[in-house]
């Protein structure tokens, strides 16, 4: 074989090898991240569940320690949420619908458990200036508008981290509590927002601007 042909052949072989090495390494990394996310969810889940047992078995200690614990749990759950956003992004060529579905379902359970714990804390300890927001979206029926609402809520949370928690749920997921909300609140349009603020509940159907949401925090 002549020299140019040799170089072309070797270049093709090396390119194919490094290309597939990249694909395989990427897949291994994806699997690693996925496993890490499962471990992370399990770890947080056990913490949330133990906190729930504690809250159910005795009256809550209305101290800052408990709130700090809730804050810590929330930040951990938010981290999982962020990872999930990338795992289910369009750019992820290793996207596996079933795997993501499993993870998201676990993630929503955790979010809801955390919501229940926080609401109990607010009610039992008479916290008047704390707001909880349940945000329902559906990527199939509301993509851009829900993304925008999500951004506004993230911003709202960043500005009110010490007296606001936001929980996001995909209405199309079959978790029992999501179905319960869909049915009970007749959620057929998205975004759908439920705001809890010291014995008061507000419902917003459709897109809510930042100013509108801020007004609920000061009511």
């Amino acid at each position: 074989m002549d020299k140019p042909r040799n170089i072309i052949t070797i270049a093709v072989i090396i390119s194919i090898l490094s290309f597939f090495l990249g694909i395989i390494l990427g897949y291994l990394l994806y699997q690693y991240s996925f496993q890490q996310s499962i471990l992370q969810i399990n770890e947080i889940n056990s913490l949330v569940i133990s906190a729930q047992y504690l809250a159910s078995s005795q009256s809550l200690e209305c101290s800052n320690n408990y709130l700090s614990f809730l804050e810590y749990l929330k930040s951990q759950i938010a981290q999982v949420g962020l990872e999930l956003t990338y795992l289910e992004s369009k750019e992820n060529i290793y996207y596996n619908k079933e795997e993501i579905r499993y993870l998201k379902s676990q993630y929503f359970n955790m979010e809801y458990l955390h919501f229940l714990l926080t609401r109990k804390y607010i009610e039992d300890c008479n916290i008047t200036n704390f707001t909880l927001i349940l945000y329902f979206y559906d990527n199939q029926y509301c993509s851009d508008e829900c993304d925008q609402e999500g951004n506004i809520l993230t911003y709202l949370y960043a500005q009110n981290q010490h007296n606001l928690y936001i929980y996001s749920f995909d209405s199309s997921y079959p978790n029992y509590f999501i179905s319960y909300y869909n049915l009970n609140y007749n959620i057929t349009t998205w975004p759908f927002i439920i705001i809890y603020r010291y014995n008061e509940t507000y419902i917003i159907r459709g897109f809510a601007s930042l100013d509108e949401l801020e007004s609920y925090l000061t009511k």
Binding site: E83, Y86, Q159
Partner: protein, 435 residues
């Protein structure tokens, strides 16, 4: 599931292949020493077609007269292609002064017709074509003739470089020509040189005697003659040591016009010579050019779409948070390693990283080899020009190709010199309908 990541992967694969090939080529590149003494200098006819070159012709003729070559074996033929300025008068002064300079004037008919006019009136056994805005080094002709005899070649083509690098667009073209010269070295190893560049190509007269003169209707006559020669099994060598300086387009509009013509020329000539016998030329050189003509506009569209979409989202985002720029900046700088690792796999960044490292090694090896031939610029200048090139090349080339494809499909005509190109699809359809 979006198709874009897969298109990106395909583009990355092609780029990876090209960069690995380049790396292997550069690592194995061994410059051959040409030890050849010309005992009996052949008679050389240099044909200079000129149209409105009043500004350049004096300088070009001075440099030709200064060429290191026996003057009794040299013939310089200036063909004024119906200039409207004083090109003819200036050239005539040299004819009166030097007996080896001949000047002719003819009606405007384009560069090829002027070249053919000159070739028909020449007497040398070696024919050299020279654009009136190009300047050879003193020893360029000797170097190229040595190549011709050493390799027993029929045509020898030089490396081309820009004279000026003051303007941004000239700096860009410096690297563009450097890459062009490098690809000349690469295709030469495959005996697939397919352009006998206008600025200064050396032909044996026997080439024209067998395959005929330049195609006067072809928009890229230098490519056409080289491909015709390749088809007739003439040997074409690339001589990187002979660097011809040329005046580059000094604004984007002129550059666009030049590159659209080159792209259209490639398409026309590819269609004409796509079944050429030389398999390297047919499969590798043509293949890579066609792939690049597809992938460059494709990459450009993806970049444009992605940035456009991101910008749109960004503006919506800003409006939804009441234009709180400080919040946005604060969040842009927050870094989380877990998220980063996940992001790393999101756009096949791993392969892209491998590709980037290879590309960087390629770049330094390339500059190292290129500077063996062209020492006119320092390392720092080349790095500076390369940054300009890296930033703009994808956008510029995509625009050149898209405009050329537009012309190929819908263009009514494109004028260049005395040639009117009107070989577009729309013209063919209209001619078929009404012709």
């Amino acid at each position: 599931m979006s198709i874009i990541p897969y298109i990106i992967l395909m583009i990355i694969f092609v780029e990876l292949l090209l960069s690995i090939y380049t790396l292997l080529f550069l690592l194995s590149y061994d410059k051959e020493e040409i030890n050849y003494e010309i005992k009996d200098y052949p008679k050389v006819s240099i044909i200079v077609p000129a149209y409105n070159e009043g500004k350049n012709i004096k300088n070009t003729l001075e440099r030709l007269i200064d060429l290191e070559y026996p003057k009794d074996k040299l013939e310089i033929i200036v063909v004024d292609d119906g200039s409207k300025d004083n090109t003819y008068e200036i050239a005539k002064e040299y004819e009166e002064k030097y007996n080896f300079v001949k000047v002719y004037k003819k009606e405007n008919g384009g560069k090829s017709s002027a070249l053919n006019y000159g070739i028909k009136r020449s007497s040398g056994e070696i024919i050299v074509t020279l654009d009136a805005d190009s300047i050879p080094e003193k020893d360029s002709l000797i170097k190229m003739l040595k190549y011709m005899y050493y390799y027993n070649a029929d045509i020898v083509v030089p490396a081309i470089q820009t004279i000026n690098t003051k303007k941004f667009i000239e700096k860009y073209q410096y690297i563009d020509y450097a890459i062009h010269n490098f690809s000349g070295i690469v295709v030469d190893t495959m005996n697939s040189v397919f352009i006998a560049s206008g600025p200064f190509s050396v032909f044996k007269r026997s080439v024209f005697e067998k395959i005929g003169l330049f195609d006067e209707k072809n928009i890229s006559e230098d490519m056409e003659i080289a491909l015709r020669a390749q088809k007739n099994n003439f040997k074409i060598k690339f001589c990187p040591e002979a660097i011809i300086k040329t005046v580059p387009p000094d604004n984007f509009k002129s550059l666009l016009k030049q590159r659209v013509r080159w792209t259209l020329g490639f398409i026309e000539n590819y269609m004409k010579y796509r079944d050429i016998e030389n398999e390297y030329l047919r499969e590798v050189v043509f293949g890579i050019n066609i792939i690049l003509y597809i992938l460059i506009p494709l990459s450009f569209s993806i970049i444009l779409y992605t940035y456009g979409y991101q910008l749109y989202n960004f503006l919506i985002y800003l409006s939804s948070i009441n234009y709180d720029i400080l919040y946005f900046i604060k969040n842009s700088f927050s870094f989380d390693i877990n998220t980063y690792i996940i992001q790393l796999l999101s756009t096949s960044q791993l392969i892209l990283t491998i590709f980037s490292i290879i590309l960087l090694i390629d770049f330094f090896l390339f500059i190292n080899i290129y500077r063996r031939y062209d020492k006119s610029k320092s390392w720092l200048s080349i790095i500076y020009y390369s940054i300009i090139y890296l930033i703009f090349s994808i956008y510029f080339n995509a625009i050149f190709i898209i405009v050329a494809l537009y012309y190929k499909l819908f263009g009514r005509n494109l004028r260049w010199g005395g040639i009117v190109w009107n070989n577009s699809l729309i013209n063919k359809l209209l001619n078929k309908k009404y012709g």
